[in-house]
Symmetry: C2
Subunit: 578 residues, 2 copies
Amino acid sequence: MLKTLQPESVKKRTKAQLNVLCDELRRVIYETVMQCGGHLASNLGAVESTVALFYVFDFPSDKIVFDVGHQCYAYKLLSGRLERFSTLRQAGGISGFPKRNESVYDCYDTGHAGTSVSAALGLAKARDLAGEDHFVIAYIGDGSFNNGLVYEALCSLKILNTKILIVLNDNDMSISPTVGGMHEMLAQIKCGGRAETIKLLESFGLQYLGVKNGNDVEEMVEALEEAKTLLHNGSVLLHIATKKGKGYEFSEDHPTNTHGVPPVGSPKDKEYSEVLGETLCELAEANDKITVVSAAMKEALGLSEFFKKYPDRAFDVGICEENASVLCASMATGGLKPYYAIYSTFLQRAFDEIIHDVCAQDTAVTFCIDRAGISGADGETHQGVFDLSYLSLIPNLTIAVPKDTEEFKKMLVFSAGYPHPLAIRYPRAGKVIFENADEPISLGKWEYLYKASLEKQAKLTVIACGERSLIVAMKALKNLEKQGKSFDVVNARFVKPLDMQFLRDLQSEYIVTIEDNVFLGGLGAMLNCEIMRLEKACKVKNFAYRDEFIPQGSVCDLQREYGVDCQEIEAYISEVLV
Amino acid sequence: MLKTLQPESVKKRTKAQLNVLCDELRRVIYETVMQCGGHLASNLGAVESTVALFYVFDFPSDKIVFDVGHQCYAYKLLSGRLERFSTLRQAGGISGFPKRNESVYDCYDTGHAGTSVSAALGLAKARDLAGEDHFVIAYIGDGSFNNGLVYEALCSLKILNTKILIVLNDNDMSISPTVGGMHEMLAQIKCGGRAETIKLLESFGLQYLGVKNGNDVEEMVEALEEAKTLLHNGSVLLHIATKKGKGYEFSEDHPTNTHGVPPVGSPKDKEYSEVLGETLCELAEANDKITVVSAAMKEALGLSEFFKKYPDRAFDVGICEENASVLCASMATGGLKPYYAIYSTFLQRAFDEIIHDVCAQDTAVTFCIDRAGISGADGETHQGVFDLSYLSLIPNLTIAVPKDTEEFKKMLVFSAGYPHPLAIRYPRAGKVIFENADEPISLGKWEYLYKASLEKQAKLTVIACGERSLIVAMKALKNLEKQGKSFDVVNARFVKPLDMQFLRDLQSEYIVTIEDNVFLGGLGAMLNCEIMRLEKACKVKNFAYRDEFIPQGSVCDLQREYGVDCQEIEAYISEVLV
């Protein structure tokens, strides 16, 4: 396998040698992803075009922004990161996404879809104003091309009056197969270069150039040379057709399954997404008003079966989180009962629509928020640690956090009869079922997960929300009970509204809160304010993530390092319960 | 003037009578806006098309969604709200925007741009699934058509497989003149119906229909009849050319000035926007890295002069808040010093980009957030009462709140040398200059606005941020000092970071916080947590807006009614300082 690779050496290769290089890179990517997990198919499909870019342009003087970043592995390998590539997605290792603090070759961090064209325009404008003349490139997949942000950037091309190259890597897939209007338009070009589409792109200020086989490195080199020339006249859209997963048969045939790959040997947990899919199918059978909306993530969210079973009531609108949110709000005002399933970090895109459309109109929309809390190996851009905070500030919105997958199911059943906006947030993997608590779901009511004494409240009560936090609490309990120290553990199933009756009745001297979210604006912060308002004499200690962006790493390590440290929690409780 | 108007009567009119009706409606709109303030030019331009819609369609059985809502006045008048129209934008009166709780004719609330097509699609889908067959219409201006959300909705037309009518009211203006790619494309159609653009729309799933003069009610009726027929085959885009401000000479000539009109006779305060424009011009002269980005609001934000003086460094990207945010982040990573000026409520649209692009990369972007706090007559969708909360949860972001326009200027000077993300939030009108405090700006440092005793801290300290809240504090002080009761008043100029040294040193028994923001996640909530963490014995009372959407009304009334009540504050302090 390829052991060393100097960035400068790429340009010295013959075209035949470039082909060899592509094969070598593809092997490194495959082997590494099998070891470390990561985005396989999209990165395999981008190898030739990336090698050609490296051959034709002069990085890092020239700048490239990878949209989302699911296609940057070959670029990382070419730009001096081969030796460290085996640390992909590990704590302290190479990121799965472009990172400015990792290499001078990375000029703009990405992770969420659709930012690349805007980012390239901003970088190009900075170049122009500095009187420099390097090239700026946005490398974007066709899945992202449906995103509204890309369209906004295209609309501003002429306003910004600068020159960029957009490489549109079109493999007919985002994470799920790409859908929607712009995609059909692009498909028409691929099927014979319809003049009107090309002329339309010109009205945006783009010169169009197409490459039939973007996995042919020589063809790519020629096209990029031509693009370089055209860039003297203005911005260029280089539209390349590639095969997602190119070069590995399994991946080519199953690009959705291999979009994101866990490392070989990771345990297969019961996932919350499975429960979501199963339960929504059951609920939809009884209630024909139920609809499901997804933004290009239906498989990962557990909704494939629902889409098959209820095609008339299931909508995948592509990477369009805002549109999905307004669709849900309007479906609800029209009498339907919509569920919007989405990752926590991507829901940030729909923040205004949650306020303005869903909650200001008090609609019966349910958000099913997956990958909430620390998400791990994807790093800063993918941590779902803000949702409790940015959702709890919104009037009319109820926030529920299940303790395990069984409670999640009950919450979904509860949601079906709930006529207001509701957010249910949960991590990917369900690891435990808590057997010693089973209170029926009632709006804003918490339950005891453990009671040290049936007669009275303990001196200390741990109030935690969500499976991960409750696991931490119960571990601490188990360890401390060995020392004869016990306390009550409360499952804060609703973070909004808080269980005010519970808080009023609470007589513990000490409260500990634990959550899988940043501290600011989260469970602990809200609870503190209520404790203060109630003028309770108890002392509260909060465990939540501190006010920093959390990098990649294992969930457990990151929890510990960023503020939810089991040992620290035990030490605190142990000290208090002398 | 028109005194009464039954919805049913519209259909019974002859076409000549429709023309008379248009004139009458125009007069009512003009007179009312002169009295109550409101959106004049856009509403005047929409009169004929709205009358025609009312004539051809059957509301409220058929449904119409007005994008933004700046064009709904004629519709309100036609749908039984003429008699109450003189209460426009007043507390408890007719809203300037569509409101479901106001009339059955309003089926979907709007206020922010770009939601109408998604909303129409959701309503249409609800109709289809219910087996109904009414028409659903999105009425949208060309300014909104640049917004990414509209594009996302267009991309999902075929996926949703339903039928809607989009009326695109094209007056070449949003609030400022419309700019950008889609607009040029539409302009090309108007200039001669370029076949390729129309074919492109077809690839999105739209049949195209154009109206040369959308201010000709008879032409509009004919076109809408045709659209109705075409709707049997699928969705239709009806593109109508209108004149913004149609019918009033002053307005036609100055559509930007008359977009939003204050009621006649309102006092002209010194506005924060003036200070923004002046100061940025001064700063830009000394620093050629400074750029300014606006999302279609440059006049209202005070930036006209900057745009004239520095055309190479000023960018109005249209109603594209997300794009503007990423442009700023990337300009900053490219070495520039960008300022993003925007209304508080619209910045919600860029929430994800503030996290993902601006703050995760720790870029030197400054957000100048106008219309923060209660904004008054525009109601629920325009209150800027969430920003302290949704911004303070984001790592790396500093939040400053000036006490008056002079301090705002100092903060802008401070920002020019500040290398991290910074948000400065302020209301529209500057009403006072506080003369008894003048500490230089230092990151995270508060200042005393009033000190009851120079030797020691008062028994009670009021900590407030922003001009409005400090006015409330100083009024209370003035009134209570008459009773011999005094206290310290602190200008919390930075809401993030809080002045921890100040809080540690604070010895008052009582703290009162006042802010022009919701309580959840705001100044008071954050301060409470720190007081608790520091284990201070003092008692804190928070005044902020409660957890509800705040409707239209006067700023003062709304402050009082929703949680910042001067009398209540005085009563509390008076009771405590026995």
